[in-house]
């Protein structure tokens, strides 16, 4: 899938997976909730845009038969942004949808998570609770689906 796959570089892989988790949680966060968390975030460091929010398209792909060669399925709207903190860290965001404010905030939290000064606070107050909510919501959906699991039985018709 995703991480650079040079086998001799496990530490780098682990780092990528950790960062992917942060970016995933931020990208999947509801717009208004992220806005609220940003307003509430104490001692916000100063920042500037390293890349102003921009909305565009990414072509999604499936695989023929589910696991075969790729084919182009259709596009999805994505908004990206990059933010640099005064301390130098650059945070990135790629968020599904067209909300530029959300992408900017996600990039801000990504940058803050990368900085020594704010990492703990972002992890504890932003990422961990959002992730928990997302996992609970997903689990809840799957549990409701699982309640519709069925055991079919077939009956022999006639005298056989």
């Amino acid at each position: 899938m995703t991480a650079p796959s040079s086998p001799d570089n496990k530490a780098e892989n682990a780092e990528v997976i950790t960062r992917q988790r942060v970016m995933r949680v931020l990208a999947q966060a509801p717009d208004q909730q992220l806005e609220y968390l940003y307003e509430k975030f104490a001692d916000k460091p100063d920042w500037t845009f390293a890349r102003k929010p921009e909305t565009g398209l990414v072509m999604t792909r499936g695989r023929i038969g589910g696991g075969g060669a790729p084919f182009n399925l259709g596009e999805i709207t994505v908004t990206r942004a990059a933010i640099q903190l005064e301390s130098g860290e650059v945070g990135h965001a790629y968020c599904q949808g067209r909300n530029q404010r959300k992408a900017a905030i996600a990039a801000f939290f990504d940058a803050a998570w990368l900085s020594e000064a704010h990492k703990q606070s972002v992890e504890a107050n932003i990422i961990a609770p959002l992730e928990q909510e997302q996992l609970t919501a997903k689990k809840d959906k799957l549990k409701k689906a699982a309640a519709t699991k069925v055991d079919f039985f077939t009956m022999v018709r006639g005298d056989g």
Partner: protein
């Protein structure tokens, strides 16, 4: 051919104003909110996203509202909108094996590993109009299973299960060096490969594909299908960002996947095995995914050494007419002024009638006068 006609500006403006009032309808009725459409008309939203070929539920809802529920018009709005945005690139292929499954059924194995999950569906309902339906009433809370849910569990596809024993053909691969075709970048060159065909079908008109799929069942390119598996749920979308050097999870989307299992193919070298058709569509769109899989399979006649006999096998016919925006553009352009064209036709037919009358006169028949000269 049609020519530009001047004039009518005021009439057009007034027609638009009238149409906007019609869109709103009776003002005593509350106006439609977008969240009402995304939350309560999700199948319409899914269809507009699929055939508009752009995954964005809120945008689809805006288009549906503006188009007053005319879904092809809404799809048109989406297609026009997408041309205004830059393309960042191509996502990593989605992993349907890792789907968070909301519905999964198989008509071929009752006890398939991972189980049959009926999920939210119209199936098994009586299709009777509910005259007592209360749109404001809170629905009953759906029951939750108390089984442990493993969020990282992968659910094998039916094709993988059959594939282990070699009884079904494997997933399609191309020769090394094949570049994935993209019909939004390069016009289709016939005959075309299965990747481009699937891209075309995924954004094709549901009604057109349904009719073609139905025709294969009725014997026009018979392929003996079974719904091996249909699954619907959420998958993650990842995009490899150059500046970061890794794939970024940008969000999730819902898709429907259909694995159609069809009759056999074997050769002197290989034992007989089931063949397959594949369908993959944005949102919950089972009818479309199934139709797509049927047509994908019928288009493979040559590769599988079958006889050519029916429209659903003809890739130029199928792929050239599946796009409802191209189709509606050409059909509806007939409404545009064709005055000069038609004038030429009128002149031609007058000449022909004169010749006809002259011929009749020579034969001594009564001359027939043209009624409206």
């Amino acid at each position: 051919m049609y020519v530009a006609v001047k004039g009518g500006e005021k009439a057009i403006k007034n027609a638009h104003t009238l149409f906007a009032a019609k869109r709103r309808g009776n003002e005593n009725v509350p106006g439609l909110r977008l969240d009402q459409i995304t939350e309560q008309l999700s199948f319409a939203v899914d269809r507009v996203m699929g055939e508009g070929s752009l995954y964005d539920p809120e945008l689809a809802a805006m288009a549906i509202r503006q188009a007053q529920g005319d879904l092809i018009e809404a799809i048109f709005l989406i297609r026009a909108y997408r041309t205004t945005l830059p393309r960042f690139g191509y996502a990593e292929p989605i992993e349907t094996g890792k789907m968070a499954i909301e519905r999964r059924i198989s008509a071929t194995f009752k006890d398939l590993p991972g189980g049959q999950v009926l999920g939210p569906t119209f199936d098994y309902s009586h299709r009777l109009i509910n005259f007592d339906f209360d749109a404001e009433a809170a629905p009953e809370t759906p029951p939750s299973s108390d089984e442990d849910i493993d969020l990282n569990a992968e659910v094998p596809r039916v094709s993988d299960i059959l594939g282990k024993s070699g009884m079904i053909e494997p997933d399609h691969q191309f020769d090394e060096g094949h570049e994935t075709g993209d019909l939004t970048r390069t016009p289709i060159d016939f005959p075309t490969d299965r990747d481009v065909r699937l891209q075309n079908l995924a954004r094709g008109d549901e009604g057109f594909l349904l009719a073609l799929g139905y025709s294969t069942q009725r014997g026009y390119a018979r392929s003996h299908p079974f719904a091996g598996e249909i699954r619907f749920g959420e998958v993650e979308v990842e995009f490899f960002a150059e500046e970061l050097g890794f794939a970024v999870p940008i969000g999730t989307m819902e898709v429907t996947e259909c694995q159609m299992i069809n009759q056999f193919k074997g050769s002197a070298k290989a034992p007989p095995a089931f063949t397959r058709g594949y369908g993959l569509v944005f949102g919950q769109a089972e009818r479309k995914a199934m139709s797509m899989a049927l047509v994908d399979r019928s288009l493979r006649w040559k590769e599988l050494g079958e006889e050519f006999s029916a429209p659903a096998q003809d890739q130029e016919f199928v792929l050239s007419h599946s796009d409802n925006i191209q189709a509606t553009g050409f059909v509806e352009h007939l409404k545009l002024p064709h005055y000069v064209d038609f004038q030429a036709e009128l002149d031609l037919i007058r000449t022909m009638r004169k010749e006809f009358d002259a011929q009749q006169n020579e034969n001594g028949d009564e001359p027939k006068m043209e009624a409206a000269q």
